[in-house]
């Protein structure tokens, strides 16, 4: 577990890069088309369907809705990251998993005051990876503990 905490998963939504602590992830599910039921939606909550995961239906959340991003990938080709939360497992739909990196490769980066006010409804922290801004994904904004008001 110590090793997992020192690594981060990189994923993309459209052309935007995100980073997520590996410790949050239960499983990465590819080829989800047969396991996802897109008929049960609650778009106000960002839930676009349910995923059959280990004999249990879990909510599938598409973050592009809240972030107002355009997905670059057809739904059948998207990847579901199963994350754990205080309310149980849930699935996060992403366009692409770009890899896993050691935390040491990320460089801290301050959000400039000119941007902080407007982007704060979507994210609050950024790190640089090879000079590319990577948004630190905050799962609690999307599902589970409502510790951050959005």
């Amino acid at each position: 577990m110590v090793q997992a905490a020192a690594k981060k998963l990189i994923f993309r939504l459209g052309e935007v890069g995100f980073v997520l602590d590996l410790a949050c992830i239960v499983e990465i599910c590819e080829q989800i088309v047969d396991a996802v039921d897109l008929r049960k939606t609650d778009l106000d909550s960002g839930i676009v369907g349910s995923l059959l995961f280990r004999q249990t239906l879990i909510p599938v959340i598409d973050p592009t809705l809240r972030l107002e991003l355009s997905s670059s990938t057809a739904t059948r080709d998207r990847v579901a990251l199963v994350l754990r939360s205080s309310e149980g497992n849930w699935a996060l739909l992403v366009d692409q998993v770009a890899g896993v990196c050691s935390s040491e490769r990320f460089q801290p980066c301050e959000l400039p005051p000119l941007l902080k006010q407007t982007v704060n409804r979507c994210f609050s922290q950024v790190e640089l990876l090879d000079n590319e801004p990577m948004i630190i994904f905050e799962p609690e904004r999307y599902y589970g503990s409502p510790s951050i008001a959005v």
Binding site: L69, P112, L115, T118, P133
Partner: protein, 139 residues
Amino acid sequence: MTRFGLFGCCQIDYAVPLLQLCKVVHEKNGFLLPGIEKTVAEVLVDDGRLIPLLFLPGLSHGDAGAARTAEYKIIVESAAGLIAFSADRTFGVVAENKGEILDSGENGIVGVAGNFKYQGKVFSILDVDFLAIELTRGG
């Protein structure tokens, strides 16, 4: 005496006071971030800092492609922090007394403090401090 850096992007020619001009970068790609206003075309990374690239006054906000793929990105310092503008041509640095300052008149463009006429071409003098605040907050 005021000196201006002179630039152009698409149909717009503009001037930035030299004292506010930090850096001209060549063929530097920026990044999209969620939540940025439509008046911000992308975000540049320079020396580990994030710098919003703003649409020029009068340039359509729907045409992010031209702003993002421009050959040059002009980084300027506003009172509120660093911002950047796109340029696809440069005209060098020119002292104010080599040209003529024109009043922008009653129908001036928001964010343009005046005009500078140099060698028959009219450059909009950007009000950098105003644009930094207005455009990053969706004005």
